[in-house]
């Protein structure tokens, strides 16, 4: 049913309809409204779940680890410092191959303290072995959340649904909320082969010697790569049921013959998309919307960028001393493609900086010049002391 909902409220409802058996969370801006709404659903008797109000994000992640290991569908949500406090557990969850789902309401990482949106948190844990999906709007966030439970279950890998904090979580917009019976048809009850069970005692999380460690990491990597096909097929199944796609691994919008591409992820794709359609451009531009950041869709990216002369990659986080995470990975992926595009990498919208529509023509205008080194595109260096520029 179509409803006008705040993003967090929509996510809470979607999570509720996925029938989680255990939800554990610790409040942090801008994730709070998700947890508050779930708590309300529990209090109102709409959602029957074990809601564990933990004493830290570290325990939130640990509780869902334990719950899923014991065979329950489990969910948590966090942001920023919370994601970093969880980091150790996140690696552990994926290493144990425990299928849980988390919403990351993306927020900058302190210091300096910022409660506003960028991708520093999820990028900081890019190597934690979780599937990471990014959302364009709240509809995609809702649909991806439902899909995430299915993907987790089918791949036995944890899934992080990244939605831009405030920009999506605190925005009220029209969302087509999938009905309970539709979700029930799509998402079977939770089943986990390796669940702890006194009838079949198993040991999980053993000490692994050098004789086996490499093999186990290899198998984790292979599982992540194989999950790409599952992510695509789950999106296709969802589309067959609802008529809505979230964009599989990545999608390309705009004129097919455009020789200029912009690659971005998250809600800024919406602004770029509308800029593409409404603003006069001196050349055709296509948008590559990267939905699945982990596993990184290398083959799809090579295909999507074939024929491009220029590719602008927009990060919403910085790897200090190197540049942008996505930009660097795109460069690595396209290395050796002949003829590959000239790749321009920038960070934009850090710490909640508004990304205006006209950022697109401004970006395109840089293409006439030689490829610039990575930089924070919308930074006003005049604000800095000369020695810091």
């Amino acid at each position: 049913m179509r409803q006008a909902l705040e993003g967090s409220q929509a996510i809470a409802q979607a999570v509720s309809r996925c029938r989680p058996e255990v939800v554990a969370a610790y409040p942090i801006t801008p994730q709070t409204h998700i947890v508050e709404n779930i708590s309300k659903l529990v209090a109102d008797g709409v959602l029957d779940t074990e809601l564990v109000s933990v004493e830290s994000e570290f325990s939130a992640a640990s509780v869902i680890l334990g719950a899923a290991a014991a065979g329950a569908r489990a969910y948590t949500a966090s942001s920023s410092q919370g994601i970093l406090l969880m980091a150790e557990v996140l690696f552990n969850i994926s290493g144990l191959r425990i299928p849980v789902v988390m919403t990351c309401a993306n927020r900058a990482v302190s210091a300096p303290l910022s409660i506003w949106n960028d991708h520093a948190d999820s990028m900081a844990v890019r190597d934690c072995g979780w599937i990471q999906l990014h959302c364009l709007d709240n509809q995609e966030a809702v649909d991806s959340t439902v899909q995430a439970f299915k993907i987790a279950q089918d791949t036995e890998l944890p899934v992080m649904v990244c939605m831009d904090g405030f920009v999506l979580t605190h925005t009220l917009e029209v969302v087509d909320m999938p009905e309970q019976d539709l979700i029930d048809r799509f998402l079977p009850p939770f089943k986990f082969q390796r669940a702890l069970d006194p009838k079949r005692p198993i040991t999980q999380g053993a000490l692994v010697s050098p004789d086996f460690f490499g093999e186990i990491r290899h198998s984790h990597h292979a599982a992540m790569q194989k999950s790409a096909a599952v992510i695509e097929s789950v999106d296709a199944d969802w589309a067959a049921l609802t008529g809505r796609r979230c964009g599989g691994l990545l999608t390309v919008e705009g004129p097919a013959d455009a020789e200029t591409g912009v690659l971005a992820l998250g809600s800024m794709c919406g602004t770029l998309l509308e800029a593409m359609e409404t603003l006069p451009m001196d050349r055709p531009v296509k948008l590559i919307k990267l939905r699945c950041f982990r596993p990184f869709p290398e083959a799809a990216l090579r295909e999507a960028t074939a024929g491009l002369r220029d590719l602008i990659v927009l990060d919403r986080a910085v790897t200090p001393g190197l540049g942008g995470t996505v930009g660097t990975e795109v460069k690595g992926t396209l290395y050796g493609t002949d003829p590959g595009p000239r790749i321009h990498t920038y960070a934009v919208g850090l710490g909640g900086r508004d990304i205006p529509l006209d950022i697109l023509p401004d970006l395109v205008a840089t293409l006439d010049k030689p490829v610039a080194p990575f930089g924070v595109f919308d930074a006003d260096l005049e604000k800095l002391a000369p020695e810091d520029r």
């Binding site: 709007d137 831009d164 920009v167 009220l172 029209v174 909640g352």
Partner: protein, 192 residues
Amino acid sequence: MIEIRIHGRGGQGNVVAAYLLASAAFHDGKYCQAFPAFGAERRGAPVAAFVRINEQRIFRRNQVREPHYMVVQDATLLHNRSLTGGLRPPGYMLVNSTRPAQEFSDEFGVWAVTIPATRLATEIVGRNVPNVALLSALITLNGMMPVTALEKALADRFSGSILDKNVKLVERASAEVEPGLWTEEVRHAASA
């Protein structure tokens, strides 16, 4: 697409106002988007919220810099003269004030309308929350949707006597202004 910027102080129900207006547009069959100028402001601090209303799905996420309409919940905010920055001509500005609208129009070079929203809200709802009265006046002035849409949006959030009082406030505030005073040009933009 119609873009609206709402100014108020923390605690005046600024975000709720934006959400209500967007929900009302949704009940009127439109696409909508409402979000606060996300901040860490506490009670009393100047805050802003944004609303977009469109016939098609809205993709852009940037803050509203050039609104078609401005709603000012607290006239004392206007001591900051940049508040009206970006307001599109002819400068539709609805102010919660008991002063004559002409004073604001002259001072800021806008087309201001004032209603005593605080007084109305205190009288009818019993709380100093001017947002609903202002929204009612706004949609009456520009005719972008019937006030019944706003009443439906209120019914999503409130019930019982609070809802009844708010509906009464909607009707009362609507009667304070001239329907359709603020015109064609913007309605045109909505279908653009």
